[in-house]
């Protein structure tokens, strides 16, 4: 069964460092998303991406964040200068339709720990 894969599964970084989280969405999907979950809190939407551009982003997704689809398979989330409060589980998701009409397929998540 096709699945969304994410790397790394866990990354520890120092505050102020740049981090890149990688995702390989399901191959025939067109819509890509990043969500995050801070420990004990709700799953929060960060950004959606369609047709090689950001289609929607939340207030969390400030100038420190960027997304890229550098080739036909990868979808990356970059945090330019990490802060302690960026520590969370980051989930990539993809769908073949818009998120409001179909299910999102999530990866297993990348745990980011900022020290």
């Amino acid at each position: 069964e096709p699945e969304v894969t994410q790397t790394p599964s866990h990354q520890v970084t120092q505050m102020g460092q740049e981090v890149i989280l990688r995702c390989v969405p399901i191959s025939n999907h067109l819509y890509f998303y990043w969500y995050r979950q801070i420990l004990g809190q709700k799953v929060e939407f960060l950004v959606s991406f369609y047709n090689n551009e950001i289609s929607e982003k939340s207030e969390i997704f400030d100038d420190q964040f960027s997304v890229e689809r550098p080739d036909g398979s990868n979808f990356t989330l970059k945090i330019r200068s990490t802060k302690l409060e960026d520590s969370a589980m980051y989930f990539c998701a993809s769908s073949d339709r818009g998120a409001n009409t179909g299910e999102l397929f999530f990866g297993e998540g990348s745990r980011l720990t900022v020290l």
Binding site: V4, Q6, Y33, Y35, Q41, K42, V43, E44, F45, S48, E56, F91, A93, G98, A99, N100, T101, E103, L104, F105, F106, G107, E108, G109
Partner: protein
């Protein structure tokens, strides 16, 4: 600002009995609702959804009920099995907007 609320952080149920997970929402524009299940160290997986034009959707042991006037939906699992033990997230979306998730309810099904 919690537009989607899951007020019970945890629920414990005996195997074979019914599990009822509740979700309330505040945004009357929400028209599509989803439930996701999440096991530890895994990402959320889609379970079942319902459109606002319906009040019930059933898929095997899982049934979602929607009460639009009360802005409330619930997920029923009958009969509950130990493998159902997971965190269940309610999510809702309005039009073309991205789903908003609740905080989740941790379900434990005892053998």
């Amino acid at each position: 600002d919690q537009q989607v609320k899951q007020n019970s952080p945890s629920l414990s149920v005996q195997e074979g009995r019914i599990s009822i997970l509740n979700c309330d929402y505040t945004n009357s524009m929400f028209d599509y609702f989803l439930w996701y299940k999440k096991y530890p160290a895994e990402g959320p997986t889609f379970l079942i959804s319902i459109s606002s034009i319906k009040d019930k959707n059933e898929d095997g042991r899982f049934t979602v009920f929607l009460n639009k006037s009360a802005k409330h939906l619930s997920l029923h699992i009958v009969p509950s099995q130990p493998g159902d033990s997971a965190v269940y997230f309610c999510a809702a979306s309005a039009g073309s907007y991205i789903p908003t998730f609740g905080r989740g309810t941790s379900l434990i099904v005892h053998p």
